[in-house]
């Protein structure tokens, strides 16, 4: 009787472990091939994929002797990362079977991420899978598992709003820009302040193909440096006010202790802007733009609290999408489980046929020299017909179950194997 194998997931994530522990366990891209190879040599591990990101390190394996794998995998990690031994064992989780499959699908869909619905994780799941394929540790079961996981991740993104809406202040600023202007390629943006925040917003604006992006800073060198880095245009601090009237988007990101734009000094220049409103985004603290500018007729001014409001709304909306995403994950898990059942049925059919053929041949062999050739040929035909008739209904039923995916669980297959004394033929597939 073969030893049953199951899909398992073992790991650590931001849910249960702080960064101090996660960083000790993390496996770098350079180390990964070697770790995978050694993992595949561990007793009972048939296939393996390792997913290691800044928020999680997880081992997915198709393994036998499942009951001892938790301890074995922990010991395995400790050989690579001795520091892990100091960590509380409870920060590691271990799932098997359907639970492990569901966990991976949720991870791929971004449902288990620190920021729900973030898109990066799906790419990381793909990379982990491709690396295991390259090393040769992903076989029939994990290949299919990861293909299903990637499909589930894509479906959740396409059919729910789990990944929609800006979730950082910089991306919320750009989202707001797109709510005002449809075509950003013919728009001009000015970023006041060349610090970290200014750079982040500039990057996001560039990604959205804003026509011209200007930067200005009290210290000219910093503006020059940022402009070089991101290929922006520089406006001198002393005279950028003269160009304000032509800017569609003005972003305040300085650390100045006072207002940079005020109603009294700049209101007139800011308020006249043709058909479309002028967008002022103030992400500086203390604020760069006087609040009174909000009241100007064709001006939209949003500060950091407003942008954080967008982020909070989007995050809440993502949370509300979790039930819909869970339904999709459940459907995909079900499809995968059906595939696994079909995988179990096929070798059983082959084994059953082989077993009865072997019995027939053994019995025929006893008569081979006791009867004439013509009688032997007659016996061969009779026994073959008999076996065909005996096997007909069981094979039809097995194939039916395999195609429908329902009605036949793995325990029942094991019973069939046990009754007929079948060996595991999965590896022959």
């Amino acid at each position: 009787m073969d030893v049953p194998s199951e899909i398992i997931a073992f790991g650590i994530s931001h849910h249960v472990a702080p960064v101090e522990i996660r960083e000790r366990v993390a496996i770098t891209d350079n180390e990964l091939p070697e770790v995978l190879r050694r993992l595949a040599e561990e007793p009972g591990i048939h296939e393996a994929v390792i997913l290691s990101t800044c928020n999680r390190t997880e081992i997915y394996a198709f393994a036998s002797e499942v009951h001892r794998q938790r301890q074995q995998l922990l010991a395995f990690l400790t050989t690579f990362r001795p520091d892990v031994a100091d960590a509380n064992e409870n920060v590691f989780y271990f799932y098997e079977g359907r639970e492990a499959v569901t966990h991976l699908f949720k991870v791929a869909a971004g449902m288990d991420s620190m920021i729900i619905g973030e898109a990066q994780i799906l790419g990381q799941v793909k990379d982990a899978f491709y690396q295991a394929q390259e090393v040769g540790t992903a076989g029939t079961v994990l290949n299919k598992l990861f293909l299903f996981a990637i499909a589930a991740g894509k479906r959740v993104r396409a059919e729910t709003a789990l990944g929609r809406g800006a979730i950082s202040v910089a991306s919320a600023a750009v989202e707001l820009t797109q709510k005002i202007f449809r075509d950003l390629t013919r728009r001009k943006a000015l970023i006041i302040g060349a610090g970290e925040t200014g750079m982040l917003v500039a990057r996001h604006l560039q990604e959205k193909n804003v026509g011209e992006i200007y930067v200005t800073n009290r210290t000219a060198e910093r503006a020059e440096k940022l402009a070089q880095q991101l290929r922006l245009r520089v406006l001198p601090w002393e005279s950028f006010y003269d160009r304000l009237a032509e800017m569609d988007i003005v972003i305040g990101a300085t650390r100045a202790p006072h207002y940079i734009l005020t109603v009294e000094e700049h209101g007139e220049r800011i308020s006249h802007h043709g058909s479309d409103p002028r967008l002022l985004i103030d992400i500086a603290v203390p604020r760069d733009f006087e609040e009174g500018l909000k009241k100007m007729p064709n001006v939209i001014l949003q500060d950091i609290d407003d942008l954080q409001g967008i982020v909070a709304t989007n995050l809440e909306r993502r949370r509300q999408e979790i039930p819909a995403a869970s339904r999709i994950v459940d459907e995909e898990v079900e499809k995968f489980q059906q595939w696994r059942q079909s995988l179990q049925v096929k070798p059983t059919i082959i084994a059953l046929q082989k077993r009865l053929q072997a019995l027939r041949e053994a019995e025929l062999e006893k008569f081979k020299h006791r009867v004439s050739d013509a009688e032997y040929a007659h016996l061969e035909r009779i026994t073959q017909n008999l076996i065909n008739k005996i096997l007909h209904l069981p094979l039809v039923k097995l194939r039916e179950y395999s195609n429908n995916g329902g009605g036949l669980n793995l325990t029942r297959i094991d019973v069939i194997k046990e009754i007929f004394g079948l060996e595991d033929t999965r590896n022959e597939e």
């Binding site: 059919e159 709003a161 809406g165 707001l176 797109q178 709510k179 005002i180 202007f181 449809r182 075509d183 802007h273 043709g274 058909s275 479309d276 409103p277 909000k294 007729p297 064709n298 939209i300 949003q302 407003d306 409001g309 967008i310 709304t313 909306r317």
Partner: protein, 275 residues
């Protein structure tokens, strides 16, 4: 056949209501399948509406705009058709709810006060010049209605952003620039067709109307509506007025059109009265 026409007349507002409901589900609950269903329902409703208009034309033997309520139904169809075309071209279904709720009410009024001309009627109601005149006027008014609805959406989104409310309207409506473009483009098209209708109407006066005064209330209201939407186009193209101003103007234009459709047509004018 009259029974079928009367039945369709009752069915149409129900169909428009259901279509509007589906667009509302798509807009407020953000359910993608509801959007696809809404589009299919809109196409079905439009097809049934076209059949109803043709049946009316054939059975009553005139282009079905002889009464205000008949004209309402044709305007509802025209607005729905123009919207279906805009949705097909832009792929954006989020404005459907706002357009179709208006269509539903126009059709509801038309069906509720269903009437037509029977028996003897002036022969010009079947003349091609008259049909062109009326078709142009209806396309003109329908475009103005659409322009005003886009104007309304512009004002809603502008207000939401200005007040830092980032709810469903912020998420679902297209950008202010896009709404403003639709607002002005529809005004432009409406202007073209209403100008054509006025010219064709002047051509018709010799043949049709016994007495036509250029100071007829209906004519004056038409000129006012034309002037308001001309201002919308001028404001965008030449004067570069803020989008908000154009949106407000087009809403003012809609008020004038509704006044013309209801008050003037029913109570004040003997011009365009064919009974």
């Amino acid at each position: 056949m009259e029974g079928i026409i009367k039945l369709l007349n009752v069915v149409l507002p129900v169909l428009y209501f259901y279509t509007t409901y589906l667009y509302a589900i798509f807009f407020f609950r953000e359910q993608q399948p509801a959007g696809q269903k809404a589009t299919r329902m809109l196409h079905t409703t439009i097809a049934i509406h076209i059949v109803e208009i043709i049946l009316r034309g054939v059975y009553y033997r005139h282009f079905p705009v002889a009464t205000v309520w008949e004209a309402f139904s044709v305007i509802a169809l025209a607005v729905a058709l123009i919207y279906a075309y805009v949705e097909y071209r832009s792929g954006n279904k989020t404005t459907g709810y706002y357009i179709l709720i208006f269509v539903f009410f126009i059709q509801l009024f038309s069906s509720a006060f269903f009437d037509t001309l029977k028996g003897e009627f002036p022969p010009f109601l079947t003349s091609s010049l008259f049909i062109f005149h009326v078709s142009s006027a209806i396309l003109g008014y329908s475009s103005f209605i659409i322009s005003a609805i886009y104007g309304l959406m512009y004002l809603m989104l502008f207000h939401e952003i200005k007040q830092s409310h980032f709810g469903i309207i912020y998420r679902r409506l297209p950008s202010l620039e896009e709404l403003s473009e639709m607002n002005v483009r529809a005004a432009n098209i409406g202007l073209f067709f209403l100008t054509l209708a006025i010219i064709l109407g002047l051509g018709l006066t010799g043949q049709v109307y016994v007495s036509f005064s250029p100071f007829d209330a209906k004519a004056i209201i038409t000129y006012i509506a034309w002037f308001i939407y001309a201002l919308v186009v001028y404001g965008k193209v030449k004067a570069r007025w803020p989008g908000r101003v154009m949106a407000l103007l087009s809403l003012g234009g809609l008020a004038v059109i509704l006044f013309s459709m209801l008050v003037v047509n029913l109570f004040m004018s003997n011009f365009h009265e064919f009974k």
